[in-house]
């Protein structure tokens, strides 16, 4: 039985191919580019193959525009801090993580960049009808957390970008990549940040930024790339413009293993929806989830009524061995939007390894706790 329900923090277990691929790297070694012996050529092929797999995952034909980063936070910072802000205005979703809020707060303090919030429904989903009345031309940038790491709401990215027109949109795909469909080209996304160790189920220390127009942002880090070495200037070609220094080759090998696993979900979607419905009937908890299940990913939270969230997490682990994350989930804005600031909630985040039986077990645990309190 898989009782690990904290996959939004980091996924576990990983597909077998992750450790196999990492072991393959340790058995032959080698760096990326810089020389032309077989060890290097093999590594370079694998790194570029991984880049292509990532491009395919997010639905873009622009593989060189997918640049490796150490995680989604790094990718978000690269884009947000690399941009210029002549209008000094950014509009964000009401469910943003501190990976977005903190760099924006820094830009507010140091450059006077102001932040507005998209009009939204009570569950934080952006209200398309009201958003149609927003003057997006007055903004330098929009930022949307594709899938909330608190209640799992999936934002209607395609429709929002259509409304935004030429105003650039950065999508934070930390929770969505590997979990829900992303079509970067079809949706005309300007930038997208992802991490490799959550929905994709790769190793920590891996991530990527997709940037459609590299002129939109200055590099965050400058240095050697194995190209244009005679020049002190950072290369303008992608991906080198944003990839100074030796990449995380070990991590990228693991990421290749994850992306190549082809793993599907082991639980049925309708079983998960039924679980949410059952939890919503328990009198001891308030369910934090999408109001419309069409916009629900496999992440949700509950706020216990009359009990500390940390106490519920403790009971779940000590009595039932269920691993969850309690608190604010680094998303105080999301919890403010959902009315659970400052206490937070207990989050359950599933993975493709969970089965219907695992969901049934979780249901029985919560039911026992609810019955013991009612």
């Amino acid at each position: 039985m898989n009782l690990y329900f904290d996959n939004s923090s980091t996924s576990f277990p990983k597909p077998e191919g992750v450790s196999q691929s990492i072991n393959e790297y340790f058995s032959h070694g080698g760096t990326y580019g810089r020389a032309a012996y077989n060890r290097v050529i093999e590594v370079s092929r694998k790194v570029e193959s991984t880049r292509s797999l990532l491009a395919n995952l997010i639905g873009t034909s622009l593989a060189p525009n997918v640049v490796f980063t150490s995680n989604a936070t790094h990718a978000i910072n690269l884009f947000i801090r690399g941009m210029r802000y002549p209008k000094k205005k950014v509009i964000i979703s009401p469910l943003e993580h501190n990976a977005v809020c903190r760099p924006l707060q820094y830009l507010f303090q140091t450059a006077g960049v102001g932040v507005d919030t998209f009009p939204h429904h009570p569950d934080g989903r952006i209200d398309i009808q009201k958003a149609a009345k927003v003057n997006f031309a007055s903004y330098d940038l929009g930022i949307i957390n594709h899938v909330s790491n608190v209640n799992g709401v999936i934002q209607p990215i395609k429709e929002i970008k259509r409304l935004m027109g030429n105003t650039p949109l950065l999508v934070d795909a930390s929770q969505s990549a590997g979990r829900v469909e992303i079509r970067a080209d079809e949706w005309k996304l300007d930038a997208l940040a992802l991490t490799g160790h959550k929905g994709i189920m790769g190793p920590t220390g891996t991530g990527a930024l997709f940037i459609r127009n590299p002129d939109m942002a200055d590099p965050l880090i400058f240095g050697g790339t194995g190209s244009n070495s005679e020049s002190y200037l950072q290369p303008i070609d992608l991906p080198d413009r944003f990839e100074a220094g030796t990449p995380n080759i070990v991590g990228i090998y693991g990421l290749w293993g994850a992306l190549s696993s082809g793993m599907g979900y082991s639980f049925k979607r309708e079983h998960f929806v039924e679980l949410l419905h059952e939890i919503s009937t328990f009198s001891s908890f308030k369910l934090l989830a999408a109001d419309d299940t069409d916009f629900q990913s496999d992440v949700f939270s509950i706020k216990p009524l009359g009990m500390e969230v940390s106490e519920l997490a403790r009971i779940l682990f000590e009595k039932f061995s269920v691993e969850t994350r309690s608190g604010l989930h680094c998303a105080p804005l999301a919890h403010r939007t959902l009315g659970t600031f400052t206490t937070g909630a207990v989050r359950f985040s599933l993975s493709k390894f969970h089965t219907d039986n695992d969901l049934d077990y979780l249901h029985s645990c919560l039911k026992k706790i609810d019955e013991g309190r009612s």
Partner: protein
């Protein structure tokens, strides 16, 4: 693999490793003979790698590489 025509060699230099690997995949998939070699220091101060092809296949390969930016250097001797 296509037959080697032995008409001398041409070096293809790309802007970065991504482009080398991208071009290599296209060249390999089409079955052209090629080798990945260090960038000759008489051609560039670059420290990376490039692709050496048979000169007789240059036009066909360039056609297959389409929009990939490439520097072309014909060699008199094998590097």
């Amino acid at each position: 693999m296509r037959e080697e025509a032995n008409t001398g060699f041409t070096i293809l230099i790309f802007s970065n490793i991504h482009q080398v690997m991208h071009a290599e995949k296209i060249i390999a998939d089409k079955g052209y003979p090629y080798r990945i070699v260090p960038v000759p220091s008489n051609l560039s101060s670059e420290c990376g790698l490039c692709i050496r092809i048979e000169s007789s296949y240059l036009d066909s390969i360039l056609s297959d590489l389409q929009n990939i930016k490439v520097e072309i250097h014909t060699l008199n001797n094998e590097p």
